[in-house]
Amino acid sequence: MSDNPFARIIRNPNLSPAQKSHALAVAAENSLPPPSLDDETRAAQDARVICDMFEGNAPYKPRYVLPDYSVLMRQGSDWLELPAPRTLDEALNVLMIAFHHVPSVTGMPVYVGQIDDLLLPFCDGVSDAELVSKLRFFWRYLDRVLPDAFLHANIGPADNRVARAVLAVDAELKQIAPNLTFRYDPGISGDAILRFCTANIIACSKPHIANHPLHRAAFDGVGYGIVSCYNALPLGGGASTLVRLNLLEVARRSADVADLLDRGLPHYVELTARLIEARVTALRASGFFQSFLVTEGWIDEARFAAMFGIFAMAEAVNHLQDSAGRKGGYGHDEGANALGLAITERLASLIAARPLAHVWRGRAMLHAQAGLSTDSGLTPGIRIPYGTEPDPVTHVQALVAQHAHFPSGVSEILTLDETVRANPEAVFRLAKGALAAGLREFTANVGDNDLVRVTGYMVKLSDIARHREGGMDRTNTTALGAEAALMTDILARRPRVVAGELQARSDG
């Protein structure tokens, strides 16, 4: 019965048994009815103006979970029958066990911790060579056993032995998983570790560099982590759900800019909030928060945020520009960029004015959502459409003012021509300048790296080519990346012309 969705999954030759098992669970969950919604919200969801990101009809785990693994390091786990670790080997072993008990929307953990803070206390008496060797095995384990590019490790802001060992191993292995964020603070980190990071970006398009002072200010003393596609969330908590709003569809349903700001956005922000409420309520009813993760203090229900995602800002702005007969495209024209900022500011104030029960700080957190593999013709978050990006300096300056308003994450992927390999100092300066200018996240791809970011997660171009030819792939996200590459123009993201030559275009 090939029409039966379960049978189709079972007979899919490109999925491993474990991948089938996950797909079957998703299909089973979706055979249940979704959380009940009022008619207006349901209609907006059916019209894809708002979207639950295919999280599943019956949420029984939060979308993102960021355990405070330091609890485990300090006290071990009664539930898992693990004593508190005393050596680096024990610490790594305990973490490897712990990861298997941390759910997320993907079925795999999205957060493997603030690696340097967790491991540094166990590194006295461990040589640098031993540290690198142990981390190499740890990294290999993560990529082979939890092969999901949404899985994210964090280091920084301090320049320390573990952060350096992690960067060395990451550049050496060039794996999809884990994705990696360095949290940069100009007052703490120093230029040396930032140069290490930018050299790694040239080698393998990782790490992603987070603007630590901006993020720290958006959270509290317990801290935050960066997970999945650059989502900033409370440490010891996470996100119950991520719901997103398609700004192009809101623009299409608005008469003009004034109508969008005064009526369209307030209306759809309200409907998005209702969808969030329905999903948070359903999650709480599932019993998840009775888990040992809560009782042992790895997570706290009060620290789970609701993420309010937006995307297709570029298409929305360009639609409004066209409708008004104004020239000037998003990312290139000051007027268009100012319109983008006005929309973002309006969203931020509407979200701040809409209380939500049972979410962190009682409000949703605005997030520039980095796309789904099926987003044909729509640009993630507030990004500039693929293939039309200006030079990186213009690119950053076009969008940086909006970054202040996205506490749960926003990212631009700057694509750099391979000539930058001969001049790593330029990537360092760009990163440092962009972060000083207020960019919340610095992310770059360097032309002709095999390992590249797709919408936010890493894939290997060679894996995508193999998947297209019908091969099996051991990672969850390559299938998504292959779909994204076919459905969207993502690989058309143009390496910017950075060569300082004036090319007469008549030469063909």
Partner: protein, 287 residues
């Protein structure tokens, strides 16, 4: 006295191939050479407002106003048809920029920049502008961290350098050929002044880089490479080898062979062996 302005073919806010780090680059219009291998040939001439390019401009971005070409960048579609139409290898889209205008652009981008490079064309054809610009950068506290570099063909005389060097951090100098006759054939000019500039700059500690373009069958010949080794040894400056590419060139050079990785690496190895390395190569030849 009027503040000097520059005639600018193009301003780049992000360049990683015109000196260390990220640099703003001003391509100045006009050149003292007419190199067959030039890949920006439309920067060589200076516009005479003849108007021959006007019919080529479909969107009407170019018009004649009071006998002068006026360019409206908001109408330009970047088709570059005007560059092909120009009979004197000029660029009707070049625009005048004052020193304060360039400073404003630098202040806007200062966090992203390691410095500025003036290139061309031949930047030293506009020495008053370059000297005034660099002096203004050094005098502006928010810009004083920027290094000021010149990309030059070396045709400038000693008096010109005397004006520029006090405010210039370094010069990246192109040597097109060591043999005078070959140099004349390639550039239309003698290389006596180029060699004098190289020595003057090296002595002043301002020769940031000596660049040499490898054109198969011409500048990769034994006598040229041997002379390059001698000159590099004398100057002691960092060396960069560039590889001839047909992209952008006009005329006979469109039929010249492109430099291969093997040729470029062999010459680099020879310079290395002479103790003159490390030699910088095109990034596509280093991997």
């Amino acid at each position: 006295m009027a503040e000097p302005s520059g005639l600018i073919a193009r301003l780049l806010r992000w360049s990683v191939v015109d000196g260390p780090g990220n640099r703003m680059v001003l391509f100045l219009q006009g050149c003292t050479f007419a190199c067959a291998a030039c890949h920006n040939p439309h920067t060589i001439g200076t516009c005479t407002d003849c108007g021959i390019c006007l019919p080529a401009c479909a969107p009407g971005a170019l018009v004649l106003k009071n006998g002068r070409i006026a360019f409206d960048p908001t109408l330009c579609t970047h088709c570059d048809a005007c560059l092909s139409a120009c009979p004197i290898r000029s660029n009707p889209m070049a625009r005048r920029m004052s020193v304060p205008e360039v400073l404003d652009a630098l202040l806007r981008d200062r966090l992203f920049l390691d410095g500025i490079t003036v290139s061309g064309g031949e930047a030293t054809m506009q020495p008053k502008f370059v000297a005034a610009l660099f002096a203004a950068i050094k005098a502006e506290p928010d810009l004083s961290h920027l290094t000021c570099l010149i990309d030059s063909n070396g045709h400038l005389g000693p008096q010109g350098w005397a004006r520029l060097l006090p405010v210039t951090d370094g010069v990246m100098l192109d040597i097109k050929a060591l043999d005078p006759r070959r140099h004349r054939a390639l550039t239309g000019q003698d290389n006596v002044r180029v060699l004098a500039s190289a020595r003057l700059l090296a002595k002043a500690g301002k020769l940031a880089e000596l660049r040499y373009l490898i054109i198969p069958g011409q500048t990769d010949r034994e006598d040229e490479v041997a002379a390059l080794v001698e000159l590099a040894r004398e100057l002691g400056a960092p060396l960069r080898l560039n590889a001839f590419r047909r992209r952008g060139v006009r005329g006979a050079a469109q039929d010249w062979p492109e430099a291969t990785r093997e040729t470029v690496q062999a010459i680099a190895a020879r310079l290395d062996a002479a103790g003159l390395g490390p030699v910088s190569l095109p990034v596509t030849f280093t991997r």
